[in-house]
């Protein structure tokens, strides 16, 4: 074996030199070790013992609509991450994105299963019927960026904007959701944290080396922000966030993007 591995409990990855750090955290081994902890013993994202909480018809209806929108977001993430593998600049980025592909596929699977558990007969058709125009348009523009093979712009849209949007919404929704949905969303949020970390690390390094790229990413952000904020508006209504907490959602998203210097 070469150097220390992430399975070795004495290794603190943040003490490693930058290249060795990337070798560790952008590996199947690291992913495997990370997800083992919170996915072991779960079935479709939650423990078998988790109890369903009775929902009123209108609560159930709003939850179904929210989950349908999440499914479009996760399909965008699955197709975006898989498309990014082809244009990733090195082996470590390709391997990391492969772990992200399976994470996104899992998210889509657990959300579709949640819809089925809520009594939706044909979840995929329901997603088609209910998903909002703004999240569909976001997906279209993201895949356009991936298709144009613009690595920085596509990664920014995927691993910073989309992931930060999902992270913010899912974390907020998990606080007020029924126990099963909350557990499913909490597992997804743990994955999103890893994906955002990759995006910030990769783009942060590139921006330090070539600050001129910032202008291009600023354009992407300006283009996508209205869609993100519109999606937030619709989602907060569906998941019943009190009016007093609503501005926090937009602020939390903007704070995540601001860490890369985009106010």
């Amino acid at each position: 074996m070469g150097g220390p591995t992430c399975r070795d409990s004495v290794v603190e990855v943040h003490d490693l030199d930058p290249q060795e750090f990337l070798e560790q955290v952008h590996s199947f081994e690291f992913w495997f070790h990370s997800v083992e902890g919170y996915l072991a013993g779960t079935q479709y994202g939650h423990r078998a013992a988790s109890r369903e909480q009775p929902l009123s018809d209108s609560e159930r209806d709003r939850l179904v609509t929210a989950l349908c929108n999440y499914c479009v977001g996760e399909t965008a993430a699955l197709e975006g991450a898989s498309g990014l593998i082809a244009i990733a600049p090195n082996r470590l980025a390709k391997v990391f994105l492969s772990t992200q592909v399976v994470d996104e596929g899992r998210h889509l699977e657990v959300l579709l299963r949640r819809l089925a558990d809520l009594g939706v007969r044909d979840p995929e058709a329901e997603v088609e019927r209910r998903a909002s125009a703004s999240i569909r348009e976001f997906k279209r523009r993201l895949l356009q960026l991936v298709g144009s093979k613009d690595w920085e712009a596509a990664l920014f849209a995927q691993n910073v904007i989309l992931e930060a949007m999902e992270f913010t919404v899912f974390q907020t929704h998990a606080r007020s959701a029924d126990p099963v949905t909350a557990e499913v969303l909490a597992g997804i949020v743990k994955d999103e944290r890893r994906h955002i970390g990759f995006g910030e690390n990769e783009l942060g390094r590139r921006l330090r080396e070539s600050p001129h790229r910032r202008a291009r990413l600023g354009e992407v952000k300006r283009d996508l922000d209205p869609l993100v904020l519109e999606t937030f508006e619709k989602t907060v209504r569906e998941i019943g966030i009190p009016a007093s907490e609503r501005p926090d959602l937009g602020r939390a998203y903007l704070a995540a993007v601001a860490r890369l210097g985009f106010a």
């Binding site: 074996m1 070469g2 591995t5 399975r7 290249q19 070798e23 590996s27 199947f28 081994e29 992913w31 495997f32 997800v35 083992e36 996915l39 072991a40 079935q43 479709y44 399909t75 699955l78 197709e79 898989s82 498309g83 593998i85 082809a86 082996r91 390709k94 391997v95 994105l97 492969s98 772990t99 592909v101 399976v102 996104e104 596929g105 899992r106 889509l108 699977e109 579709l112 995929e124 895949l143």
Partner: protein, 297 residues
């Protein structure tokens, strides 16, 4: 179709692979296992192992590009999700075989140069034929090329290598065992998924059969070149004696009823090519395609 795809869900994959046969492994093998000292100390054998492992990395890089590229061409959510698990399987294979190159002494900074220097041109062309289909978002052609032809070939190559290494290099044999288990799932998906589509699109058959003929040609040419510089039986015998730690040599390696240790490289090549082609014909017939014999490389 829903029932068929439920056997290829991410939940099933999580339970059978990461939480199943990969549990407790490190880069695909048991923790603490190493390449045999005898192999690392023998320059000719070590270099031959590096050349062989480079072909595995090249093949797996192709499989990673193909499976991830096919996700966006897949016509339904279930297939997309299966291909997501295959993408990560292939990335894991790239990772474990790359790690083996490091374990064999290749320096990280030299990795791409070593791969470029040793990649078999026919294997590269084999990959290009497949990736042309993937680039065109041709799901049908892509899945036949990837999950039936490439994975079918890899499955038998890994099985043969596994048989040859089981008693002399447990570390590498364990790495191969995990990849064989993955490949079996991938081949199963290809066979199950494609038959129905080909019945719906019979007009695609000639073109896909042409692709099979081209890929088969490059596969056979790859085998021919790979075995040209394979270790002779006497080199393998030397490793087996040392692996036996000076005592009785490990039991002989057998595959497809033949003792691999006794076979000269040209007979090993014929055995592998014959096995792969025989299986190809059966698989292709099962999905409704006629095997096309390529020109002799």
């Amino acid at each position: 179709m829903a029932d068929f795809l439920s056997g290829y869900s991410i939940q099933y994959w999580l339970e059978s692979a990461p939480q199943g046969y990969l549990l407790g492994t490190e880069f695909g093998h048991h923790a603490g296992e190493r390449e045999p000292e005898a192999l690392l100390e023998d320059k000719a054998l070590r270099e031959q192992s590096i050349r062989t492992t480079v072909q595995l990395v090249v093949g797996e890089r192709c499989a990673l590009a193909a499976s991830s590229g096919l996700i966006n061409a897949a016509p339904d959510e279930g297939s997309k999700r299966f291909l997501a698990t295959q993408t990560l399987d292939e990335a894991r294979h790239v990772e474990v075989f790359t790690q083996r190159l490091f374990d064999l002494g290749v320096k990280k900074a030299e990795l791409e140069g070593v791969i470029q220097a040793h990649a078999n041109p026919h294997l590269v062309r084999f990959a290009e034929v497949l990736l042309e289909k993937v680039d065109r978002k041709d799901f049908l052609g892509g899945v036949v090329g990837q999950n039936v032809i490439l994975e079918g070939m890899a499955f038998h190559v890994f099985e043969m290598m596994h048989a040859g290494n089981e008693n002399v290099n447990p570390k590498f044999a364990h790495t191969l065992a995990g990849t064989i288990a993955d490949e079996r799932r991938h081949v199963g998906f290809g066979e199950n998924r494609i038959g129905g589509w080909l019945r719906e699109h019979p007009e695609r058959k000639p073109e896909i059969e042409r692709m099979q003929r081209d890929m088969s040609y490059h596969m056979l040419a790859t085998f021919a070149e790979a075995f040209r510089d394979a270790p002779r039986p006497e080199d393998v015998a030397r490793l087996r004696v040392v692996a036996g730690d000076g005592g009785a040599a490990p039991k002989p390696a057998t595959w497809q009823g033949r003792r691999l240790d006794d076979l000269p490289p040209e007979e090993m090549e014929a055995l592998l090519a014959g096995t792969v082609l025989k299986e190809f014909k059966i698989r292709l017939e099962r999905i409704g395609l006629q095997y096309q014999t390529p020109a002799r490389p």
